[in-house]
């Protein structure tokens, strides 16, 4: 069985690790000290790039590369730590904030040193009252100990960290929404470009980074790039193996919830399969896996045939899904996929910020269609097409071919694809919230179409046995596109 590999979470359960003294006894701040003593800022940025660290907040963008876009001649530059964690199914940042906030502060210090940043805002979710309390206490201690403030540890660096509470809007997790919200406005995302790295908060260059991403920094600096790149899957393919272009290095805080016996956060090396993860989380609660959402509710769903997909950035992208925030939601044979989609669509309809017409109107429309299907009022029509043949009267003419059409399913796909098209990956909206809506909508419907059809046909929710509810692999477009990592040989 796969073993947990606790690095970020190693000292999470040490009593009082949230205090400076105990954190210090567990190597606390030594990595920051090593960074200033042994490396130039640019060297740190290079190390992060070489280590292949990718953003853990959702987009999975290379952190080192993001840093390289920041113009170093514009002052001041800012760091915004994204602690807004609101993607359904994700709960790993919360534990860091509540139990080990000094680790985050150390990560921030390293980032600030590398990027020459003096001011950091930690945008923390409004509901995280305990997290904010613990974090504020840790920040206060760090100031008292001289790790924050003016002339940090006699190095001449000035670094300030402020926590900033959100107020319950999911869209403030999107980086430009976060920036708007931080500026005291409605959290409505901005058009990109300009990207935050160039014009972010207060129109200055801004690095936006997730809590987990920042918490990786002390370990990259402390243990070195080589140590870091050894963690993660090896594919035997130069393009995916570290330290090449598309690396999957390090560990991930996998959050697993739903139908497993021991839900929770498990820190594991990137690249184990869904089946292995379910096993680590105490096994399935129920008889059979019906579906797995691999990266927070925005990610396209995986079926029972796709459970051998590895949970890393590359493999999930090839499976036409995403690792996203690492929130894995498991559903067993008793679950109705229409019902699950309805729940998720209610969430998105509630959270759309309302700036773009396709999203503002399309999302509630998708929700209403799914609601209608779930209520047993899904629309179905019979259409007649002209067709030449021998008619009843024995003459050559139009015999009229009839076909049953699940009108609402076509409509659902149409509306969703007009918010953001999942096949071409183009969207008609300002931010990628649009994709986060149409991805689940279209993937659930395509992969579990029999269950949607049954609900319309029988005018009520029908939970089909797993094998019947799932579109078989040979008809599943996404499945055919998928390449199982082990056999990734002739990709070119």
């Amino acid at each position: 069985m796969v073993q947990e590999k606790r690095i970020l979470y190693e000292h999470l359960d040490v009593p009082n690790i949230n205090t400076f003294d105990v954190f210090r006894q567990h190597d606390g701040y030594t990595r920051f000290e090593k960074a200033i003593a042994e490396y130039q800022p640019e060297e740190i940025a290079d190390m992060v790039k070489e280590a292949g660290l990718k953003g853990r907040g959702g987009a999975g963008f290379s952190t080192g590369e993001k840093w390289s876009f920041v113009p170093r001649d514009i002052e001041p530059r800012y760091l915004c730590c994204n602690a807004d964690e609101s993607e359904p199914g994700t709960f790993s940042n919360r534990y860091v904030l509540e139990k080990n906030p000094h680790l985050l502060i150390e990560g921030i210090l390293i980032c600030c040193y590398a990027m020459g940043i003096e001011t950091t805002y930690i945008y923390i979710r409004g509901e995280f009252t305990l997290g904010k309390k613990m974090l504020d206490a840790a920040i206060k201690e760090a100031y008292e100990q001289g790790y924050l403030g003016e002339n940090v540890r006699d190095t001449g660096l000035n670094i300030n960290i402020y926590s900033h509470p959100g107020a319950g809007a999911y869209i403030c997790g999107e980086e430009t929404g976060l920036i708007e919200s931080l500026e005291g406005k409605r959290g409505q995302p901005r058009n990109k470009p300009p990207f935050p790295a160039v014009q972010g908060v207060f129109m200055k260059p801004t690095v936006v980074q997730n809590v987990e991403t920042l918490c990786n920094l002390p370990f990259i600096v402390g243990n070195g790039v080589e140590w870091y790149t050894q963690m993660g899957p090896t594919y035997g393919d130069a393009r995916f193996d570290p330290p090449k272009a598309d690396p999957n290095t390090g560990t991930k805080l996998y959050c697993i919830s739903g139908d497993v016996n021991e839900p929770g956060v498990y820190e594991l090396e990137l690249g184990l399969t869904c089946t292995e993860l379910i096993e680590v989380a105490g096994g399935l609660r129920g008889e059979e896996v019906k579906a797995v959402i691999p990266g927070g509710s925005s990610a396209p769903i995986l079926t029972q045939y796709e459970l051998d997909t590895r949970l890393d950035f590359t493999s999930l992208t090839l499976a036409k899904s995403m690792l996203g925030s690492g929130g894995i939601i498991v559903m067993n044979e008793t679950r109705n996929i229409v019902d699950c989609l309805l729940n998720i669509m209610k969430f998105y309809a509630h959270e759309s910020c309302g700036q773009c017409t396709p999203c503002r109107w399309g999302t509630p429309w998708v929700r209403d269609i799914v609601q209608r299907i779930a209520d047993g009022e899904g629309r179905q029509t019979t259409i007649t097409r002209p067709k030449f043949g021998i008619t009843e009267s024995g003459r050559w003419g139009d015999t009229g071919e009839t076909e049953e059409i699940y009108e609402d399913l076509d409509l659902l796909e149409n509306v969703a694809n007009n918010i953001a098209n999942v096949d071409t990956m183009t969207w008609n909206t300002i931010c990628v919230f649009g994709i986060a809506v149409s991805w689940p909508a279209v993937s659930y419907m395509r992969k579990f179409r029999p269950e949607f059809e049954a609900a319309i046909r029988e005018s009520k929710l029908v939970t089909l046995p797993v094998a019947e509810a799932t579109v078989p692999p040979e008809e599943n477009y996404a499945y055919q596109q998928r390449i199982i990592p082990k056999e990734m040989v002739d990709l070119e």
């Binding site: 964690e85 609101s86 993607e87 359904p88 199914g89 994700t90 709960f91 940042n93 919360r94 979710r125 409004g126 509901e127 995280f128 009252t129 305990l130 300030n160 402020y162 900033h164 509470p165 959100g166 107020a167 319950g168 809007a169 999911y170 919200s181 931080l182 500026e183 005291g184 406005k185 409605r186 959290g187 207060f202 959050c255 697993i256 919830s257 739903g258 139908d259 839900p263 929770g264 956060v265 959402i293 509710s297 929130g327 939601i329 559903m331 679950r335 699950c340 729940n343 998720i344 969430f347 509630h350 959270e351 910020c353």
Partner: protein, 174 residues
Amino acid sequence: MSEEIIQIETPFQFSEENKREFDELIGRYPVKEAAMLPTLHLAQRQEGYITPAVMKYVAELLELSVMKVKDVVTFYPMFFEEPVGKYVIRICHTLPCALRDCKVVLDHLKEKLGTDVASETNLAKGTTDDGKFTLMKVECLASCDVAPVIMVNDDLYKNLTPEKVDEILEQLPN
């Protein structure tokens, strides 16, 4: 809505302690407007909800129009524009909690409190007659591993069952 039309019965003002906290807050940002959310949180903690008087006061503090403040208040679900109960009960109903039967907990709460669920535009609907509780549904509280969960004011309660809900409600001081 402009400043003149708002009917303000009693003006609002920060308590001494909150004023001090505000003064510290405002120094953190290069522009005053950025202190909006923390300032509104402070005000709501003092007043219970965001009244027109609060908006006017905050607008003055941050040197903005009242309209701008109102604009922000209406966007964020955590700011209330109507009075709420002494205890605000937030129940999560997103997928992972739904897979762990949050509906049973919700139905139990509704029955026990004898109230419906508040909507964002009608908080009174979810508030008990004695003004002690307001019940509202919220989206994922980032605690799906211990689902189903509720928050009572600032405290999170995990792995709930109807029995546990009863215990929690009984413990709350009047």
